[in-house]
Symmetry: C2
Subunit: 657 residues, 2 copies
């Protein structure tokens, strides 16, 4: 029988087929024609039956199915190493979100994805699952390079870098799914960010869209304990239960992380065939928790492996990830026999294909499947000697000792991505150059922000900030009741609203004298003696008093104020002040109108540092020099009505006492 | 001022000094003369002040202090990937110890160490701490290659591959310490294996030897919970307390692992300056436990990083180890801010030097220290873009994204080990060839063993095995009391010892019909109704009945029997039988003499599988065909005395019923 025609033969390698029988073929070969594998077998048999113009010797190497990375955010390569070893909230709200708001656009996504593709190919990855913004750019970059990917456009209830609202995101998703239909390499998908960052409506509509286009649905599930709790409180049930109820589990779901899922959730995942993307490095680095991988596997859930984005990993090395996926569950369960090397390798190949619903096409080396192949040198000093007592010895070599640097050649869909350690479809030097250029822009933005406490404040972003000024006076007063009575009963005064409050202020001081001072205030309205839910706010006061009028009336420092929706601890880590001071006080406050103009009258008694003195403040917001001058004059008039001893006038703030 | 003479200038790199100020010098340089660093500074300054024939451009790269690997067993590279994903006891007693007994000798240690040195240099390691046997061979290989190492000869109470007793080991230690005194690269040391594998006397004498030679003392401490408990029961106190009491803490101690140390032990370690070698990969892979690194650091203990040997890692990649040392404690403490990148890098450099008591010489790049240097490319796709907002960005690049493959050049003691990715002092191809050759011998040994259940049994080794035969008869009997009375009152019979026992037998069956059958027996002596501590034994019965005499008296299968000092679970995993069966019975046994010859008379009632029948057995050990024939005749005579119904004679074993 005459040999048949193939395009490429890979010969003399150890073929790790990952077929159902787990065949390992020493001195094996794989024949490729067009996009497909047409034969797998012993080298001599394949060579006898197939002719090809290209014959690649794989002596000393293994021929593997390409690895599949089930969770990443490809463009985030450009944020690698930007901010590490921080608390999750500081990292996310202080760095990732502000930078993403500022920089994430088509160019960022294109170059970021190219950089990630270069990393992936170098580590033997032939297919990956992505969730990001401007996902059409990600998809185009992947298609240009020639890798295989499932690309999910991220949707959530908050504004994103590419949409003001989720309606806009869903419209974009639809056209994205439409545009990439039937692409040979890219599968368009939808990525509702996480149950807790979506809404009932958004989950339901995402599920409908996935059903309409038969598209995979990628989602973060229970990555952190906090996220799982938020979902619970939002839906009144656990994340996976919420996904079931909103029809999401009808889709081909890839659930990333699943660190904090319950037994019931595991059952549902097994029942509906929800696949998990396990991200051991990211889960450790962000201290998200230790996923119960063994519990998921025992429940019959398909588990695959992901690197997550470079902002939380910090690379796309699936060999490292596979190794950690084998190691970490042993430490967690205290059982060295769990997730043996063979299982970890399966999670990174056949497992990934299964989770993506692409097991018919990829994940193993079998005739009829796509030619997604990696050739891995096994004869390096860090991977000898070789034992071949059982197949486990081979998988041990692949998982515990092989490194991404051992990947010699990579083919995707029958096309070479890398040959003899050279990338063929990416200009590596250009990608590095562009990454450094964009990185420099991001760095400059953050450096400016770091220099200015105000910029750092503004970078928190979701908050609304505005500059305001106040005119104010402060005076020490002896007999309060009578004094205040004199002003409140004055005919020019109308009392709008009296209140009793307790205020706990923490001031942040900075090295830079121009940085100003940040004040974090917990403001408790004392309602019949009980402290009710406080108001938290954050105020930046500029470094200098703007102007002084007669009677020590001051035009105050510029002020930026906003609701403080994060903890004091967050702001401490985020602003990293040189020094902190606490001032606590009890404040009786009257909002009044004097001659029709709004003022506040405060009577303050400091409790920390403790003081017997009572201070009276009169203040008003102001918007212009002219307005400020008028209000300063009115304050002087009121001081006359009060008949305070002007020897008691003070210009210092409480924190400077 | 005229420039001074140096040998080598490394210029234009990012110098990560790791000096006390944590100086990072972009566009920096290091000047080397002889064995020493003579200058560190900005490139232009160093180039202006120093002339050298060799000038190395480090553009795009970092110039680092060489990494220090604080715990390994260098020759074990030759056992890499031999047996993974097994329980610790199966791994150790089933594979490591038998193979070490068979193979560890001078040649093994020489080539194993060379292979390890090649791996270390490739991953930027310039100094390591080793514990193994034939440590003079390890030391010689290190010296030949030109690396720096602390080499500790292992001593323990058990026989080792290089000593029958610990007296012998200690004698060897002394001459080893003597021989390597004042070597420029190798520091000879003593390595009492672990508190629980030593004795009071051995610890004391090790401490004395360390004091006499001012030698470092390397020891495993509390690697596993079991080990820590053993030490507790052996010394009546915890491991570190035992080391204190025996004077060991007076030495420069490197305590490997410390996974299961108590608060009191941490205090003692801080007080005595005991350094810890943290081995995160090995601890995960063997499921030893999750060391409380943060607790150790908080207690003021110096912590360094080790890879452990390749049998439990499976490589010597300090970049992987550094990364995991930064990641794992975050997951364990659920705090992403612990062990930040800078601290992990310090643990692998200055920390290692401090733990070894060599901080004056190595660990940082400073004028006056030894020239132990690694140059690391930072401009690869997996490590861009670069941010330089804070020094932490640099350490993040080194720890979270850099890979061993990025190590371009390595210098030790002023001598190049690697230049432009080529090893200069090791013939890499030869090392790979020799490793494969020795590995093939080990593989063949284990393959033979795996084929034979007997060999596998013998490989357990510490046990004493011997082949024995029995002659025996078995008969079903109706009225037991009267029957037995007839024999025991017979004048030719003397009753030596009656007993009541309960026996739980588990039989292992194998695919190979020639493999025989393994029986694991728990034998409880019933003492006034309570079950006391049982005897455990393990018996291998040959596949065939040797001979049959008249009256169904059999010369039994060959038997190998030994005390079973491990659990049933261990033997199940070790032998991996195709099938198992349980037989439980109550046995009344009389050891008797018949005509002066020893016999056993058993009355057995099966409880699992349950049976109402009672079987009578008569058996005796035998040593020769002649002896067997005589005893078979005596058994026939006794059957006549008993007057049993010969229709009840059975040849099957209980397990075949």
């Amino acid at each position: 029988m005459a040999p048949k025609a193939a395009d490429t033969l890979l010969v003399n390698g150890l073929v790790v087929t990952m077929n159902a029988l787990g065949d390992l073929i020493p001195q094996g070969a794989v024949a490729v024609r067009g996009r497909d594998i047409v034969a797998v077998g012993r080298s001599e048999d394949v060579a006898a039956n197939w002719d090809a113009s290209e014959v690649i010797d794989c002596g000393g190497a293994a021929i593997l199915p390409g690895l599949i990375n089930l969770h990443t955010h490809a463009p985030m390569s450009l944020l690698r190493g930007l901010a590490d070893d921080l608390r999750l909230d500081v990292w996310l709200f202080g760095y990732m979100l502000p930078v993403e708001r500022e920089f994430v656009g088509p160019e960022f996504c294109r170059w970021g994805t190219r950089l990630t593709c270069a990393e992936m190919i170098r580590s033997g990855v032939t297919c990956f699952a992505d969730m990001y913004y401007y996902e059409n750019e990600v998809a185009q970059a992947v298609a240009d390079v020639g890798l295989r990917a499932v690309c999910a456009e991220t949707v959530m209830k908050l504004p994103t870098p590419d949409a003001e609202s989720y309606d806009e995101s869903l419209d974009f998703c639809r056209s994205f799914l439409e545009e990439w239909r039937d692409h040979p390499l890219v599968t368009a998908a939808i990525g509702p960010h996480a149950p807790e960052t979506c809404t009932h409506d958004l989950l339901r509509r995402s599920a409908q869209l996935a059903a309409e286009y038969d598209a995979p649905l990628l989602i973060h599930v229970a990555e952190t304990a906090g996220g799982a709790e938020e979902a619970l409180s939002l839906y009144g049930m656990s994340s996976i239960e919420a996904l079931e109820q909103h029809g999401v589990l009808q889709a081909r779901v890839v659930a990333a992380h699943c660190v904090h899922v319950t037994g019931r959730e595991r059952e549902l995942m097994a029942e509906y065939g929800v696949g998990v993307a396990y991200n051991p490095t990211s889960n450790l680095k962000l201290a998200s928790g230790l996923a119960d991988v063994v519990g998921l596997l025992d429940a019959g859930v398909a588990v695959s492996i992901g690197t997550d984005g470079q902002a939380s990993n910090n690379d796309q090395d699936m060999f490292e990830e596979m190794r950690l996926a084998a190691l970490l569950p042993k430490g967690v369960t205290q059982d060295p026999t769990v997730v043996p090397a063979r299982q970890a390798f399966a999670m990174a190949t056949t497992g990934g294909a299964e989770v993506l619903g692409m097991a018919e096409l990829i994940g193993s080396l079998e005739a009829g499947k796509r030619a997604d192949i990696a050739v891995l040198a096994l004869d390096r000093v860090h991977n000898v000697p070789h034992f071949d007592l059982t197949p486990e010895n081979v998988y041990s070599r692949l998982v515990y000792a092989a490194k991404s640097q051992d990947v010699r050649d990579v083919m995707v869909d029958g096309r070479w991505m890398r040959r003899d350690r050279v990338l063929l479809t990416i200009d590596e030097a250009q990608v590095v150059r562009e990454a450094q250029r964009i990185g420099a822009q991001v760095g400059a933005f953050l450096a400016r922000r770091e220099q200015s406490v105000l910029d750092k404040l503004v970078a928190l972003g979701a908050l609304q900030w505005g500059e305001t000024y106040e005119v104010q006076v402060k005076v020490w007063v002896p007999e309060q009741e009578a004094l205040v009575g004199r002003l409140l009963t004055c005919p020019e005064v109308i009392v709008i609203k009296p209140s009793e409050r307790k205020q706990y202020d923490t001031y942040f001081f900075f090295d830079d004298p121009l940085a100003g001072i940040i004040r974090y205030r917990e403001d408790y309205l004392l309602d019949r003696g009980t402290e009710v839910k406080p108001i938290y706010n954050l105020t930046l006061r500029g470094p200098a008093v703007e102007r002084e009028y007669s009677d020590s009336v001051l035009l105050s420092r510029s002020r930026f104020t906003a609701t403080a929706d994060r903890s004091l601890r967050f702001y401490q880590e985020y602003f990293q002040p040189r020094e902190e001071k606490r001032v606590d006080k009890v404040r009786s406050r009257w909002r009044i109108k004097y001659k029709g103009v709004d003022f506040a009258l405060n009577l303050d008694r400091l409790t920390r540092p403790e003081s017997d003195r009572v201070y009276l403040e009169l203040k008003a917001r102001t918007w212009s020099r002219h307005d400020a001058l008028q209000k300063a004059e009115m304050i002087s008039e009121m001081l006359d009505v009060l008949a305070v001893d002007k020897a008691g006038l003070v210009q210092d703030q409480y924190v400077s006492f």
